[in-house]
């Protein structure tokens, strides 16, 4: 980055003035001229802002699925730490903790995956509908 003295700029004739940008600003302006703008990607005409907005929507959806799952898993972990009796509790001669950490947790994660994929596909459909 080149340091620029404001007084020096004022002394120069208008034709010799150079606008010095912070590299972030320069990059941002270059990004606006992305190849996607006004062009075609995978059959769609779109621009960078639309693409990033769509990406953020998918990201929000993924995080809205992921974070509650992680929260439940850590709640379960803390429960196993603080609840001494859980390890020896039985249901029909089957250890309850084995049931919880086995079929209950794993099939719940499978259910969450199915639900997420359906919502993600709906989001894709909506995006395509908006561009008809």
């Amino acid at each position: 980055m080149t340091a620029t003295d404001g007084n020096e700029l004022q002394r120069k004739p208008a034709g010799q003035r150079r606008v010095v940008l912070h590299p972030r600003t320069a990059s941002a302006r270059r990004l606006d001229r992305s190849r996607i703008d006004g062009g075609h990607v995978r059959g769609y005409t779109t621009n960078t802002d639309e693409v990033l907005e769509y990406m953020r929507a998918q990201r929000r959806l993924a995080l809205a699925t992921f974070l509650p799952v992680i929260g439940c898993i850590f709640a379960l972990l803390i429960t196993t730490i603080v609840w001494d009796g859980l390890g020896t509790m039985q249901l029909g001669r089957v250890n309850v903790l084995w049931l919880v950490l086995g079929p209950v947790t794993l099939f719940s994660i499978l259910g969450v995956t199915v639900a997420h994929e359906r919502r993600a596909l709906r989001l894709e459909e909506k995006w395509m509908d908006d561009r008809r």
Partner: protein, 572 residues
């Protein structure tokens, strides 16, 4: 005899289908991504074949046999990893259109110099994982046929190399799909049969809550020299060497430690409490069934182990090259999503049934505590049944084990060969074939040296490396436009470098116990957050942003056209 025939059948089928693949595999696209034409359901079979590895099939029951319920967290971690793979990666990595992970990183960040660095991480993570598969092969072949350990390692290494150099990804997809059925049957059949016993009310014959003991008079061959701790004195018949003296006949062993020479055979009377080899912890039934406690996980820190293995397994799956590259073989990103769904529906029942084999082994294979060969726990379930039915169950389980290490070894070797030939040498099919053979020979050589290393230790190191280097690169690269080249390099150097260093220090035994073993043996707990934080921090301070970010994100995220026209993105 029947189990041996079953294993040989799986091997013959693998070679036959692999050779068939030669007829279809001609182009670079065939070899690396099966021409991106694999149906999502068949691809889910193949992904399942890869994911149901010797690490899970043999390793998890082995650890459950010794440590009990805590190892269920490892399965929870893997399942979360597959969920995250579905949420964050399946569709975008396919849509971007690369052949390999390093190529993706180069294309996304426009960083050709970063490509060989990422390739190195791919090779390291795959190599540790492949060693675990070869170790599994050595154990299974030794248990079934009685050959030395090296026979299984060499045979499987060579077989996988022959198959891959013939048919590449296209051929191996076909093979892995079939292998999935063997693996799944290997778990399903004993589960169903033992469940019948359970509901008939014969629970005591299946699981025990006492210290394990020999149910009947049992002859045990100690292939390797071992030191064990005998809880009670016992009169045994022995041939070989015990406590440095040659023995041949009946003798009384006092309670306490004894050193048994290699190839010694001891016949234990019924009711004897089983001895425990050095390194195998002795837990009573309640301690075994309950979580945490005084278990010798991560140097006596079971809570650290639980959290660290959750993180390593979940984030490691997202960075495992042999799993991620399978999604490149789908025709579209939408099909990649369908593959991930089908795959989850296949792997979850497998993970639900798998731990039971470890629980059954406490009754079926108590001799493993004394020999220290707990990696063979899965294969003992057939001993719960007499005669031909026991043999048949052992045959099904053994065939599943063979399919597990063959299938996963293929995927790992293809990831390694792809990284060498495509990302480091920038070459085509002939170099891919050479890279397959080079990778196989190096892995066989090193596989012979890891006989004494636990399968799950090798998997833990591999997962930590993948979770701390490849995973953050992919997640940040796919979902954060601000991720830069310097950020990516810092991620690999800090995350990948530290996790590799910690793994090597542990592998060569430079740490012996306590917190050092915990922190360095399962480093993912601190290397994964550090890698993500480094990548984000360096990128935020970096002024050199990646150009044309809109185009790259469009390639990764925009859905395919509804009219079915598949428009391949330009190759990055």
């Amino acid at each position: 005899m029947i189990p041996t025939i079953a294993v040989l059948s799986v091997v013959a089928m693998t070679l036959a289908l692999g050779t068939l693949g030669l007829r279809f595999a001609r182009t670079t696209s065939n070899f690396f991504v099966a021409s991106r034409s694999v149906h999502p359901v068949w691809n889910a079979f193949a992904v399942s074949g890869e994911a149901m590895s010797a690490a899970s099939y043999l390793g998890i029951p082995a650890l459950i046999l010794v440590f009990g319920v805590d190892l269920l967290w490892a399965l929870v971690g893997w399942t979360i990893g597959f969920l995250m793979l579905s949420l964050f990666m399946a569709a975008p990595v396919r849509r971007f259109g690369s052949y390999t992970i390093p190529e993706f990183v180069e294309g996304r960040l426009e960083a050709p110099k970063l490509r060989p660095v990422v390739a190195l991480m791919v090779i390291l993570a795959s190599w540790f994982f492949l060693l675990a598969q070869l170790k599994g092969a050595g154990v299974v072949v030794r248990e079934l046929i009685g050959t030395p350990y090296w026979v299984g390692v060499v045979a499987v290494g060579l077989m996988v190399a022959v198959n891959l150099s013939s048919g590449g990804m296209r051929g191996i997809t076909f093979v892995q799909g079939f292998q999935f059925f063997f693996i799944f049957l290997g778990i399903l059949v004993p589960f169903v049969v033992v469940s019948v016993l359970w509901f008939q009310g014969d629970q005591d014959a299946i699981v025990t809550t006492d210290f394990p003991a020999f149910v009947e008079s049992t002859t045990v061959t100690y292939d390797r020299g071992v030191t064990f701790d005998l809880p009670n004195s016992s009169t045994v018949d022995a041939v070989g060497a015990i406590d440095g003296r040659a023995v041949d006949g009946s003798l009384r062993l006092s309670a306490g430690r004894h050193v048994v020479g290699a190839e010694t055979i001891i016949t234990w009377p019924a009711g004897t409490a089983v001895p425990f080899a050095d390194g195998v912890q002795r837990l009573n039934g309640d301690d075994w069934a309950a979580p945490l406690g005084e278990k010798d996980l991560s140097g006596g820190h079971p809570l650290y182990f639980t959290i660290a293995s959750l993180i390593a397994n979940a984030f490691g799956i997202m960075g495992m090259p042999h799993i991620v590259v399978r999604f490149y073989t789908n025709p579209t990103g939408r099909e990649a999503r369908r593959t991930s769904l089908w795959f989850m529906a296949m792997i979850v029942p497998y993970y639900v049934m798998l731990p039971l084999l470890g629980a059954f082994a406490r009754v079926a294979g108590p001799d493993l505590f004394g020999t220290g060969a707990v990696d063979g726990a899965t294969l003992t379930v057939g001993r719960l049944f007499d005669g031909i039915s026991g043999e048949l169950i052992t045959a099904v389980v053994s065939a599943g084990a063979a399919a597990a290490f063959l299938s996963t070894s293929s995927g790992l070797l293809i990831a390694m060969a792809g990284a060498v030939s495509h990302d480091i040498l920038s070459a085509g099919v002939p170099q891919f074939r050479r890279a397959v053979w080079a990778g196989a020979l190096v892995s066989i050589g090193t596989g012979l040296l890891v006989e004494s290393i636990n399968i799950n230790s090798l998997i833990g190191w591999s997962s930590s490396i993948a979770a701390s280097s490849i995973c953050p690169l992919l997640v940040l690269g796919i979902w954060w436009p601000g991720f830069t080249r310097k950020g990516a390099l810092a991620t690999v150097v800090v995350g990948g470098g530290l996790s590799t260093l910690a793994s090597v220090i542990t592998m060569f035994g430079f740490v012996s116990g306590g917190w050092a073993v915990a922190i360095l043996g399962t480093p993912a707990l601190w290397t994964v957050p550090l890698a993500f934080a480094t990548g984000i921090g360096v990128s935020m301070r970096d002024t050199d942003v990646v150009l044309d970010i809109g185009h790259k994100f469009a390639l990764m995220h925009l859905p395919e056209r509804r009219d079915g026209a598949v428009i391949e993105p330009e190759r990055p």
